[in-house]
Structures are given as C-alpha cells and as structure tokens.
Symmetry: C2
Amino acid sequence: MKLDDLTHRSAVWLDGTGPESGIVLSSRVRLARNLNDVPFTNRSSGEEQQKVLEQFRQATQEAGILRRGALLQIDHLSMLDRAFLQERHLISPTMMKMDLNSGLYLDEREMVSAMINEEDHLRLQVMQSGLRIQSTWEIIDRIDDQFSDHVRFAFSEQYGYLTACPTNVGTGMRASVLIHLPALVLTKDIDQVIKGISQVGLAVRGFYGEGTDVLGNLFQVSNQATLGRTETDIVDNVQRFTNQIIDFERQARQTLFSEARHQIEDKIWRAYGLLQNARVLSSQELMSLLSAVRLGVSMEIITSVSLATLNSLMILMQPAHLQKLFRREMDADERDVRRAELVREKMRTLALEDGSQRAT
Amino acid sequence: MKLDDLTHRSAVWLDGTGPESGIVLSSRVRLARNLNDVPFTNRSSGEEQQKVLEQFRQATQEAGILRRGALLQIDHLSMLDRAFLQERHLISPTMMKMDLNSGLYLDEREMVSAMINEEDHLRLQVMQSGLRIQSTWEIIDRIDDQFSDHVRFAFSEQYGYLTACPTNVGTGMRASVLIHLPALVLTKDIDQVIKGISQVGLAVRGFYGEGTDVLGNLFQVSNQATLGRTETDIVDNVQRFTNQIIDFERQARQTLFSEARHQIEDKIWRAYGLLQNARVLSSQELMSLLSAVRLGVSMEIITSVSLATLNSLMILMQPAHLQKLFRREMDADERDVRRAELVREKMRTLALEDGSQRAT
C-alpha cells in the first residue's frame, strides 16, 4: 500500500453509512496492550522497540490479521507523511512527534489500524461509519484474541491489562463516537450537555482526540474509565449516552427550526453557496461550512450532497493531504486557494449530477 | 400609468447600456425652475400650489411634453407609494415627507420626470444609462425650451434662473453621475479622490442624493455651483472629472488584481454564491453583494449576469417595492426572507439560462 494512493479517497469509516449517520460520523474502539517481556515504550531501548515491531509483524503474519494491510515504519516517514497519517486519524499527535522505532499497521480500507510503540506497545483501533459501537467492539475483540494467541500481553489478575499510563489500565479500552452537534452549539446547550456527560464518566474531546480543538461542531465522546468495569459495560454505557446526546441534538434542531427556521436555512444555504464559490478557503472555515451543510443534509434541506462527500472533503482538504496531492510543499495562502479550487470542483460535479434537486 | 405596473421592472436609465456602463450606472441632469408669478413653494398657499400644478399640466399637454407620461398628485398617495417613488429616484426624500399639493410627472420609461412643488415649482430631471451627460443635457434642454414657450419662469438678467435656495440660482442645473467605485473603496483611496473632487467644485453624495448614505460603493458625483458658469461648462466639467475618476477606479482595480487577485475573486464569487443561496437578505447586504458581483461582471470575471439584472435587483428589492409587489405591509424580517427568495429566483433563472458560463 502506498500512502499516495490514499490522497484521493477517504476511509471506509467515513462513508456516511450506518445507524444515525446524520449525527454520528463514526464509532471507534481502541485497545491499549503491552508485551509481557518488554519495558513500556518510554523505558525501552531502540533495540527493544525494534523487537516489539518484529513480534507484532510476525503475529500479524501468522495470525492472518491485517493480511491485506501494510506496516509502515513511522520513523522512516517524512514529517509530511506523518502529518498526513495524523489527518486521517491513523496516528496520534503524540506519535507524530516521536522518533522511536514505531510503526503503523493499516488495512486497505482503514477500518483496522494499529500503532506500535506509541505510548503503549500496541494501540489497536477499529473504526466504522455511523453508530456501531457494539459491532466495532466485536471486530476488535476478535483481533485482540488472535493477537493473544501469538504474543503474551502484560496482564495482571488484579488489574487487567497493564498500560504505560494508569488511566488505561484494566480493559485498556476506549470506545468513542465522533458526533456532530451543531444545534446544541447554536442553542448554547452544549456546555450543559458536556457537563452532564462528564458526570456519567464520559469524556469529550476535539476532532483529533485528546487535547485538540473542536472543529466543525464535531465532538469525540468516549468512556473515561477503563478499570473496574467490563468491556460490555463500557460499550453499553457509551451507546446509551450517545443515544441520549442524539436525542438532545434532535430536540435542539426541532427548537431551532420551529423558532428560527429562516435563519437556520439561511446559515445552511449560505455555507453551501460559499463552498461552491469561494476562491480562498482555510481548513478551519471549510470545517465550519461543512458543519452547516452537514446539518442541512441531515435535515434533508440539502439533498444534492451526500454525507460521504462531506466526510471526504473534511479529510482530503487538510494541509498535509493537499501537499501530498500536489506533491510539493505549499504555504497556507496557496493551500487556501487550491483547497477552494478542489472543493468547488467537487461541489460543481455534484450540482451538475443533480441540478434539479439543487434548485429546490 | 399605474404604479403597480412598475413593481416588476426597473427604469430605462438602469438598463446597463451606454458608455462606461461597467463603472457609471447612469447620468442625470436636473433643472430647478420657478414660475414668475407665484411665490416659492414654501411661501405659497395651497391654492397657489394647485395653480402651479395646473399650469404645468396644461403646459405639458399643449407642448406635447411627456405625452405618454402621467401626473401623479403626491399628496394623494399613501406613504408606501411615496416611498416606492423615492426608491426609484423619482421623488426626493424631502418631497416624500411634504404634504403640499405636489405632483410628479413621469414618462413611461422613467427617463424624464418632473417634481412639481418640491423645493422649487419645477424640478425637471432626465436620467440615462451609462456616461451620457452631454446627451442627457441636450434632452433636458429641449424640454426646458418647450416649457418656456408655455410658462414664464422666474429669471433675472443678472443672476439667471431664480430658485428657492441660493445654491441653485443661475443655471438651476445639476449634472450628476451615479458611479460605482468598489476598488477605490477597497484600496482606501476613495477619501483622497473625494477630497480632490471637492476641490474642483464637484460634490459627492450617497445613493439617494443629498444627505443620504453611500450604499454598495455607489457615489453620486455632481457639480456644486450653478451660478456664474454656463450649462455647457457644467456638463464639460462633470464629464471631464468623471473620466478622471473612472481612470482612478481602473487603476485601483489593476492594482488589486495584480496584488491580491485571489482575494478579490474570492470576494466576488462569494457574493455571487450568497445571492444564489441566502434565505435572509437585508437591503443593505444586498447592495453590498451586488456591488461585489458588479465588480466581477465589469471585470468579466462573472459573465452569466448582466449589469441590467444587477441594476434592477438594486431597485426592485427595496422595502417599498417588495411591499407593493406583495400588496401588503411586511416587517423587516419578512421582507428579508422574501427578498432572498426573489433574488434567488432571479439568479437561478440566470444560472439555468447559462449554466456553462456559470461553471467557469
């Protein structure tokens, strides 16, 4: 697999399908695991790290895990390629900056991926489109079992899986959804909702995970605790509260549309018009325009754009993606012009494909 | 002629034709005249005012002036109708509020009009599209002569035509152009230009004339003095300095396009996208969006909209026009929604008529 092949397409977890896909972009489960006989990454030598990489390479081959995938050695990649992987939510901001013998396993469709020698030896993640926490959990659980047949994970009878950071000890599991809450942001109820979420043991993060900003009204909601509860508990909990947040968002949308329909439709259609016409477009503005159009698509006000298109624009128009696409470094000014150009092209194609609906 | 017939069309002086019509919307000449044997309007009785109206009615019939026109008695009109006429630049803000026996003559195409019993007994105006001060002057001069054959104007050998306000004494003439100067506004050179204009005896006014705001980067440039110079001097003067302002505007456009092409194109196309998509649109925002699109049309960046369309939107989407069109009073919120709807309709029709150019 070549990274350059990915510049034109986004991952399967962003294809806009699945339950509640109008509000929930994707579901993700990740497991933190460490090998029993090697110190944690931050304490291991370069040699030991290489050994970890090798063990997981063998395990994946023997077990037939990620057979159609690839292993990328991160420290061999340019900073641009690393940024590119981070933009695709495949490596963490932390990993981007590390200069260890770290690796990324990656299946072709980017449903399953695994960071090797990040904070933990193994950070396995599975992502799917829509609200599918349960099935995402089932997939990752099978892969975890397959790994367990070939490597020995550090495990304590008392605590469960051992991890570099105590917050991950136990199940080592984080289940999360990437959820779009524009109405709760507009009605300013979002603060209340976030407060409520924290009180029931869930955490809210930004677009790229821990410590990152909220962009385009997209929130990552995940379990906080990994210890003292079962994986099933965690899945049920995140699922239950996500359903509740979806309800709140739906109510907020109803309120907005009954009290300020014209203003909301105006916001949505203006964003649509700007995507189709702007000549200069920053990443940040794009995210905000996509958010408004996503609301419109989700409310069936705009019918000529698919959620998959919006999702792919969100990923493919990021700085490192654009530079990979054009195969050269570009400053922010040039990127903003190219971004506007590509977005316009995409939106125009769509408008021509379905001019009648556009004119609704 | 019924006012309701005018709600769907704009005047001939806004048809976007004529020299320099990309920058100069229209040329206008007006003459202030008073009858010899009646006190000025502000000193005349209702009976005398009625007599003035009657004299001009007779004169127009006898002389065949404005034959295909109509006389509207302003004080018989509702405030909405008066506002409607003001929005069309046919009566002054002053006249709108007067409750005298005042009248408006109006030819079918709105090229020639005459306010009776405004500040002066007669305020005759001729408006044409583009930069045509000379021919506009020739038209109004002929009409003035025809009037002179049938009524006696107050005239002093020493001063010339006598008027209620000393600033109009002499020729009683004001020649003006409505000129679009978006680039000079963007480069902030406009202040310098206005200063220069004042120094050569010209005045700069807003969209609706004296004491009104500049809207959509449209400026009215006219002669200041009416006394001590001939009509030909005034025409030549306004023509010459208008040419100079046009040059300045062209230079500013060149500068902008060589130094910030993407930003300017962005501004133009965003405005275009908003006109096509907004669901709520105030008069003021419309003027500002039309200004940006006008710049685009004038620079041949946008080729799917005509200047005539932009001009007509500028007039027909004003508050009183909308209320006349829908035949009822509407508050600002409702007008903003209807305005957006009508503008969209107009822009969509255009886009469908010429989809290929739109996609440029």
